[in-house]
C-alpha cells in the first residue's frame, strides 16, 4: 500500500496542472485583503479576517471543486493512457488502487488549506488589516488542517464516481452539482450532505459563527461516514467489474 502511495506521488511530479491548481488557494485570502482595504478597516480581529479569508467560500466551494477536478484528473488520465490494464496485471488490488488515489487527494487537500492559511496570515499582516497574533495563527492552521482532512473524506463520493467512469464529463458535472448541493443545504439541513456536515464540525466553534441548526458533531461525522462507506463500497464494485 505504501509503495502504491509512493508511486502515486511520483506520478504527480509530471503533472504541471495539478500544482497550478493550488493557486486557487490564494483566491479568498486575496479577496479578503481587497475587501478589508476597500472598506478601509485596519486592526480587524484576526479571527474576523480569517473567517473571510479561509473559513467561508474556500471550504464551501473552492476546495471541493478543486478536489473534484483532481479526483477526475487522477483517474481519467490513467484510463486515457491505458495504465489501468498494466496495474491489474501486476496485480494491484482495486481497493489498494482506490485508497492510493484517496491518499493523494487527502495530502492535496491538506496542502491546499495550509497554503490558504499561510496566505491568510500574510495577507492580514502585510495589508495592516490585522496584527500578528501567534495563537490566532495557530488556531487558523489547526482549523485549516481539519478542513483539509474532512473535505477529502467528504469528496469520497466524487472519487467513487470518477473511479466508476471512463470519461470525465460525468465526474466533473457531479463535482459541480455535489458542491452546489452542499452549499445550498447549509441553509436547509446541515446533516444530509458531507460538505455541509464538515462545516458543522469545523465552523461550529469558530467565534461569531451562528449555525442554522443546533451543532451535533456526532450526526455530522455519521453523515460523512455513511456517504464515505457507501461510496467506497460502490467504487469497490465498479473497480472489481473492470478488473
Amino acid at each position: 500500500m505504501l509503495k502504491l502511495i509512493q508511486a502515486e506521488f511520483m506520478k504527480l511530479r509530471r503533472r504541471r496542472f495539478v500544482w497550478l491548481m493550488l493557486s486557487a488557494a490564494l483566491f479568498m485570502p486575496l479577496f479578503a485583503l481587497s475587501y478589508f482595504q476597500h472598506i478601509g478597516e485596519t486592526g480587524v480581529e484576526p479571527i474576523q479576517f480569517y473567517k473571510w479569508a479561509a473559513f467561508s467560500y474556500t471550504p464551501w466551494i473552492i476546495l471541493p471543486v478543486v478536489l473534484g477536478m483532481l479526483c477526475t484528473m487522477l483517474l481519467y488520465d490513467e484510463h486515457q493512457y491505458d495504465v489501468c490494464k498494466q496495474l491489474w496485471i501486476v496485480p494491484i488490488h482495486p481497493m489498494g488502487y482506490f485508497f492510493s488515489k484517496f491518499a493523494v487527494v487527502l495530502f492535496y487537500a491538506i496542502l491546499f488549506m495550509c497554503i490558504t492559511a499561510c496566505a491568510s496570515v500574510l495577507a492580514g499582516i502585510f495589508s495592516d488589516c490585522t496584527i500578528w497574533d501567534g495563537s490566532s495563527a495557530l488556531y487558523l492552521l489547526k482549523k485549516c488542517m481539519e478542513i483539509g482532512v474532512l473535505t477529502a473524506f467528504a469528496m469520497l463520493p466524487v472519487l467513487a464516481v470518477a473511479a466508476s467512469q471512463k470519461g470525465y464529463i460525468l465526474p466533473v458535472c457531479v463535482t459541480l452539482i455535489y458542491t452546489f448541493l452542499g452549499f445550498i443545504l447549509l441553509m436547509v439541513n446541515m446533516y444530509l450532505h458531507p460538505l455541509s456536515s464538515m462545516t458543522v464540525i469545523v465552523m461550529g466553534d469558530v467565534p461569531g459563527v451562528v449555525l442554522t441548526q443546533e451543532r451535533n458533531n456526532m450526526a455530522a461525522l455519521f453523515c460523512i461516514g455513511i456517504w464515505g462507506v457507501v461510496s467506497t463500497a460502490a467504487a469497490n464494485i465498479a473497480l472489481h467489474r473492470r478488473t
Binding site: 497550478l20 478543486v66 486515457q80 464529463i169 466533473v172 458535472c173 445550498i184
Partner: protein, 253 residues
Amino acid sequence: MKQLLWAEKQKLRRSKLIWITMFATIMVAVIVFAQGQFVFHGSRYVDNAGWFMTAAQSLATFFVFPAVIALFGSYMICREEQEDTMKSLRLIPVNEPKLIVAKMIITLAFSILIYLLLFLITVSVEAILHNESLSIGLVLEFLKIYFLDGVGVFLAIAPMIVLVARVKKGYWLALVFTELYSFAGLFTSMSGVLKVFYPITAVFHVSGYYDASVIQIILSGITLLLCGGIAVMLLVSFQKKHSNDNRDGFRHK
C-alpha cells in the same frame, strides 16, 4: 461552415454529454427548490411568486452553468485530440479555426438551450404553485432574462473556451478557473462599479435581472462584447499560428 455545424450536431447525438448536462440542469432546479424550503419570517422562500424563477437563474449562473458551458465547449474542442480524430480531419483537410468557430456556435446554442430548459422547469413549478399570481407579462419577462443570460454567459466565458482550444491539455485548469471566475461574481455584485464591468454580473445587467440604468446596460453590453472580441482575437491569432505552422510544415517537406 454549414457542413461543419451539421457534423458537430451529428457527433453530439452520439455523446452522453447532452444527457449529463440536462441532468445537471434538472439537479440545479431541484437544489434551488430545496433552498426554497427555508423558512424566513414565517413563510418559505418558494411561497413567494417568482422567487423560484429568480433564484434559479442567478444561483445557476454564479455556481454551475458557466463551468458546465465551459466544460461543453472545451470537451467539444479537446475530444478531437483525445480521440485522435484530429489527424483524420486534417487530412480532409478541415480548416481548424473554422472548426473551432463551428464548435463555438454549437456551444452558444447549447448555452441558450440549457437556460431555456431551466426556464421551462422553473416556470412549470411556478405555474403549479402560484397559478393565479403568474401573468403572461411576468413569464415573458423571465423568458427574456433566461435567454439573455444564455447569450451573455456564453460571451463571458468565450475567451476561456478559446484558450482551452489553444492550450489543449489545460482544460482542467480552465474549468477550475471558470468556476472561480463565475463565483467571483458574488463578490463583484457588492460593488456598484464592479458589477457593471465584471462579465458575469454584467450579464445580469443586460438580461434585466438587476435594476440598471440605460448607461449601465450599455456599459455591461460593451463589456460582454469585449469578451466576445477577445475570443475572436484569440481565434484570429490561432488561425495565423495555424497557417504559419502549415507553411513551415510544407517547407520542411
